[in-house]
Amino acid sequence: MIPTSEPTARLRPGEGAIARLACLVLQPVLTRVVRRVAARHPSLFARLGPHQATDFLIDPVELPFALHLRPDPQALVFRAVPRDTAPQVGATIRGRFLLLLELIDAEQDGDAAFFSRDLEISGDTEAVVRLRNALDDMDGSLAEEASAMFGTPGRAVLARLRRAYPDATKPREYA
């Protein structure tokens, strides 16, 4: 895999430390979520084909960190990474966090978000297309599934995120 996608970073003062702390706190949650999704939706991996081994950077522009995903069923990786230490990856998907969440849940159309320039992709386009199609073939809501794993607090966080959606600002400058 040729690393084509550069992680980008423009940190505000103190943001690096916040990002590192957020990543530490989030990691156990992310690990649980991705293991659960993989166990419940095994057909996802067939659609990924050779790109099970590709590294993706999912970059929610308004959050202080990005997410590194390698959807390899034998060695799943899903971790939060501060942008300044993000790995070189095969493909990057960038947009507002709630847009990314809605894309995963098929509440939004990826092509439409691309046409409107709210979604940006770089690197290996085939890898992104495969991931998109694999996720789109999943029934139900990943966000609901993940939040339900954490009971009432989980659902409350999701509800709060969704309420915040209409107010979500356009991406701030990040490059």
């Binding site: 098929a106 939004q108 990826g110 409107s116 320039r117 998109r132 789109d136 073939d137 490059a175």
Partner: protein
């Protein structure tokens, strides 16, 4: 009045269920190979998935149409024959074909299964359509998107089969089934490999000023300013500099989608039997939104009410829409 069936796209089993639940009369789909014109990575159905999809659709009164609408290269017809055998065994309601050899095979082997002529066959004259009807028993033609409604009305009078027209979606319409632009740049054939602008050859490059270039096989197809809406990386929708237009211009087509929601009553009156929504490569969200909107519109028209079609502009390419040749030949 014609039946005004709603023919809806499905790139995955989940999209198929979404289309069925949203009110599709029929759903069209394809296998994960070169036998159909949306041979995209991670898209389409395995035979097992198609079997489940047929069961799901039939249980809800929805038909399943299998797209076998690419052209087998010489000596490589087995893939298409095998796909037809599988589709027939699984009980699909019709095959959508473009190639005469594929049509002939199905007509001989599975005379009980309907044949629809794909838009990829580019049959736009009564003579051409009648040829397919007489020789292969074609029951429906999907018309190329180059005809006005008066022309469709006239064709309807001169052919013995049903007419299906596109009403929404991608609007790439060089001579359909004959476009070799992708082949020229990538070596892969839209018409034989089933993919225009293969994702493996596409790259998006973000420039420092926020502009984005879309590239195919290393050639820049378009460059969108930071606030400009984007389109698919297809050569026909590219913006090129030429000696007489050094600033760059859309030499063939603009990124734009077809939307005939306002023309539905006229199309029904002209004798169109079925309305096709493009977009097997699109998401469940697209399928749900577009199918629901057109289901409601068609039901309104059938009931004699004025159709109140939802605004679908957000789902269109380049966030622009057109009625294309259906409104006027001068649409470009």
């Amino acid at each position: 009045m014609s039946l005004a069936e709603l023919i809806c796209p499905a790139g995955t089993p989940a999209a198929l269920r979404t289309a069925v639940d949203a009110g599709a009369d029929a759903v069209y789909c394809g296998f994960q190979d070169a036998t159909n014109a949306r041979n995209f990575p991670g898209l389409n159905f395995t035979p097992d998935e198609l079997a489940e999809a047929v069961t799901y659709a039939h249980a809800r009164g929805t038909k399943v149409l299998l797209a076998l609408n690419t052209y087998p290269p010489a000596g490589k017809v087995d893939l298409w024959r095998h796909a037809a055998d599988t589709g027939a065994r699984l009980g699909v309601d019709a095959f959508i074909v473009a190639d005469m050899g594929v049509a002939d095979y199905i007509a001989r082997m599975y005379p009980g299964v309907r044949l629809h002529l794909s838009v990829q066959a580019a049959a736009s004259s009564p003579e051409a359509i009648r040829y397919y009807c007489e020789n292969f028993g074609v029951k429906r033609v999907v018309l190329p998107r180059i005809l006005t409604i008066p022309e469709i009305r006239q064709i309807r009078r001169e052919i013995p089969c049903e007419i299906e027209t596109f009403i929404f979606g991608n609007h790439g319409l060089m001579v359909e089934g004959r476009c070799s632009l992708t082949n020229y740049l990538t070596g892969q054939s839209t018409n034989m490999d089933g993919v225009c602008s293969p994702a493996s050859d596409v790259e998006y490059v973000r420039d420092a000023d926020g502009s984005m270039s879309s590239q195919l096989a290393g050639f820049t197809i378009d460059r969108f300013g930071p606030e400009e809406k984007a389109g698919y990386p297809t050569i026909c929708k590219g913006r090129y500099a030429a000696p007489h237009r050094p600033e760059g211009y859309y030499a063939f087509e603009e990124p734009i989608s077809l939307n005939l929601s306002r023309l539905l009553p006229d199309l029904i009156e002209a004798g169109v039997h079925a309305f096709k929504i493009e977009g097997r490569q699109r998401s469940k969200s697209y399928v749900r939104g577009v199918v629901r909107a057109f289901r409601a519109a068609v039901d309104d028209i059938k009931a004699g009410r004025e159709a109140n079609i939802a605004d679908l502009i957000a789902l269109t390419e380049g966030q622009k829409q057109t009625q294309g040749a259906f409104e006027t030949k001068k649409w470009r």
